[in-house]
């Protein structure tokens, strides 16, 4: 089997001296979608920042393409792993195309500015995500869903074999959630390794090859969605009773049980 593009080995993570989690073993291979689930405060974002090299590992190590992260420079990491942050409000009204072309930075010389070819690639990424017509609009003027798509386009322009997405569906409306999930699935089909976090088990069922469940900084289960997301585990981690049902079309959904609630 090929070496994983992203691998965490007995990773301990946290801020400064404060430990958030430890002993995390996680791998993402080419063409694979790995979904990280876990309640609020379980350490998903901190784990991602450590995997991206934005925070130093407290223990263990992160390997990118088989190379220990500590041996790679910032541009070398960025050429291997792209990061899609949660759609945010921008501080300056950059045009969408300028925002996306920033994904090319790791491929540019220190003093260089993006070439026509870089702009062409950025526009191509926007077109791929179906928002090519937004290229010249200010990033501050588009909707949250469009921003998330633009940030994914930026990650595509970065041309890295792995993409890490922090809750890409959070704060999106239903339609945009589906658009983003479909795009993630398509990217994995093209051979990219995708690691994403989500709060919605249904998303994990619909697009992920593997699910990792994080609770209080420890990975308590890892495997196929059906193995990991059992009603018993969801009750254990979230304190909610759910039914996991397979629809006639073959899709699996989680339905919370409200019968215990007073009302």
């Amino acid at each position: 089997m090929k070496i994983p593009i992203l691998a965490a080995r007995r990773l301990g993570f946290g801020y400064g001296a404060k430990a958030v989690g430890r002993d995390v073993d996680l791998e993402v291979r080419a063409g694979e979608v790995v979904c990280l689930l876990g309640p609020n405060g379980s350490g998903k974002t901190t784990l991602f920042k450590t995997i991206l090299g934005l925070l130093p590992a407290q223990a263990g190590e992160v390997f990118v393409d088989g190379v220990a992260m500590g041996q790679l420079t910032r541009p070398e990491i960025a050429r291997r792993v792209a990061y899609v942050p949660q759609a945010h409000a921008a501080h300056f009204p950059f045009r969408v195309i300028d925002m996306v072309v920033m994904g090319r930075t790791a491929h540019l010389g220190l003093f260089a500015t993006p070439s026509h070819e870089d702009r062409r690639r950025a526009l191509g990424a926007l077109t791929t995500l179906g928002i090519g017509e937004l290229a010249d609009i200010e990033y501050t003027r588009i909707s949250g869903g469009q921003r998330q798509l633009a940030l994914i386009a930026r990650a595509l322009a970065q041309d890295a074999p792995a993409i890490v997405m922090d809750e890409p569906t959070a704060s999106l409306d239903f339609g945009n959630q589906v658009t983003v999930l479909a795009e993630v699935k398509r990217l994995a089909g093209l051979g990219l390794a995708v690691l994403l976090s989500t709060h919605d088990p249904d998303h994990a069922f619909s697009i992920s090859h593997r699910v990792a469940l994080l609770d209080a900084g420890r990975l308590i289960a890892q495997g196929s969605p059906h193995e990991v997301l059992t009603p018993a585990r969801l009750l254990d981690v979230y304190g909610v009773t759910v039914a996991v049902e397979r629809l006639s079309r073959g899709q699996t959904v989680c339905a919370p049980d409200f019968s215990g609630a007073s009302g």
Binding site: Y15, G16, K49, L52, G53, L54, T73, R74, P75, I77, A78, R79, V81, A82, Y83, P85, A89, A90, H91, F92, P93, F94, R95, I97, D98, M102, G103, T105, A106, L108, L110, F111, A112, T113, P114, L123, T127, G130, G132, E133, A135, D136, T140, R141, Q158
Partner: protein
């Protein structure tokens, strides 16, 4: 989709050439302002006087009479100084605003002006010659920002920018207290007016030596800002995103701070504290050409140079006595700032 892309491309080009046009227009306006400012003053010069004086200068002929003295020793150095000081303050402001991801940040956020002010006040207090006062202002401006940066590096916070700003506020307040103390101790008839005048900013004492001293430093500081213009855009997204995009954010921030500080300290040392230019001008420039630093930097410098030249020409001609330029920039800048607030411009955070 293909058709849509084509339309987008065309619009992009049109937008791009409009912005280039804006830069050309600003450059032209600056040239006109320089020409006008050279004519106007306590000793009016006609275009003919200036043309003849320039011709003599170019031919290497010896200077003749008062016209040449006024033009080459007083008027032009001052005009040139106003342009350099305004351009430098605006460039430093644009850099700091990108760095701190806040469009309403000014070049003295890390205390360079207050530090330079303290240096100048110490120099005046010790009755140093003008060059000594300027050197003290320059050194103290750099030292203050160095101190702020060192404090912020020692204090490891989760938010390095916030720690930096807070350290700047604290050190700035200390320097402000020291200035106040020296004001009380200073000779009220001789030193105190000089201190007050310096702290309000003025170009009235500018001669050739000052301009030749400050301009090379400004140009040196400009080099990294021009070379790193693309990376400064990426840095304005914030440390984490910049790092994830392959930028060594910490190192780049240090370089930008060093360049902007050198630039500000060099001009504040010869002009005194001139507020508002570095705050308001980059903002207007961003409205004209957008936030991308490769266009923002030249636009801010052209606008800043032209603006300060206009204000300084007013300062030396509108009344019998010279009005401190810092007062004028505040009178014009403050209402504009309020207008920005009222407008609730996007990007204000």
């Amino acid at each position: 989709m293909v058709e849509g892309t084509g339309i987008t491309r065309t619009r992009g080009t049109v937008l791009g050439s409009t912005r280039l046009g804006v830069l050309g227009g600003l450059a032209l306006a600056l040239v006109v302002l320089v020409a006008a400012a050279a004519l106007i003053g306590a000793y009016p010069l006609s275009p003919g006087d200036i043309a003849q004086a320039l011709a003599r200068k170019l031919a290497g002929a010896p200077p003749q009479g008062q016209i040449d003295t006024v033009l080459f020793e007083v008027r032009l150095p001052r005009v040139f100084a106003a342009v350099v000081v305004g351009a430098a303050l605006a460039a430093a402001g644009a850099a700091y605003q990108a760095l701190f991801r806040n469009p309403l940040v000014s070049p003295d956020i890390l205390g360079v002006s207050t530090g330079a002010g303290l240096g100048a006040v110490i120099g005046i207090f010790l009755s140093l010659p003008v060059a000594g006062i300027q050197l003290a202002a320059f050194m103290m401006g750099l030292a203050t920002v160095g101190l702020v940066y060192s404090i912020a590096s020692v204090v490891h916070g989760r938010e390095p920018l916030l720690v930096l700003v807070l350290a700047g506020v604290v050190v700035g307040a200390l320097a402000g207290a020291a200035i106040s103390l020296l004001k009380i101790l200073a000779d009220p008839y001789d030193q105190l007016p000089a201190i007050v005048f310096w702290l309000l900013g003025s170009l009235s004492a500018i001669r050739k030596a000052e301009v030749w001293g400050a301009t090379p430093l400004v140009l040196v500081a400009l080099v990294p800002l021009v070379l790193l213009r693309w990376r400064i855009n990426v840095l304005s997204l914030g440390d984490e995103e910049a790092k994830a995009l392959g930028v060594e954010a910490g190192r780049l921030r240090l370089i930008v701070i060093a360049a902007a500080t050198l630039m500000t300290a060099s001009v504040v040392a010869i002009s005194g504290v001139i507020g508002w230019v570095g705050l308001v001008i980059p903002h207007i420039a961003r409205m004209l050409v957008g936030p991308s630093f490769d266009r923002l930097l030249p636009a801010a410098m052209l606008l800043g140079g032209g603006y300060l030249l206009l204000v300084d020409t007013l300062a030396r001609t509108m009344a019998r006595i010279e009005v401190p330029i810092g007062i004028l920039t505040a009178v014009i800048g403050a209402p504009f700032f309020l207008w920005l607030l009222a407008r609730g411009r996007e990007g204000w955070s």
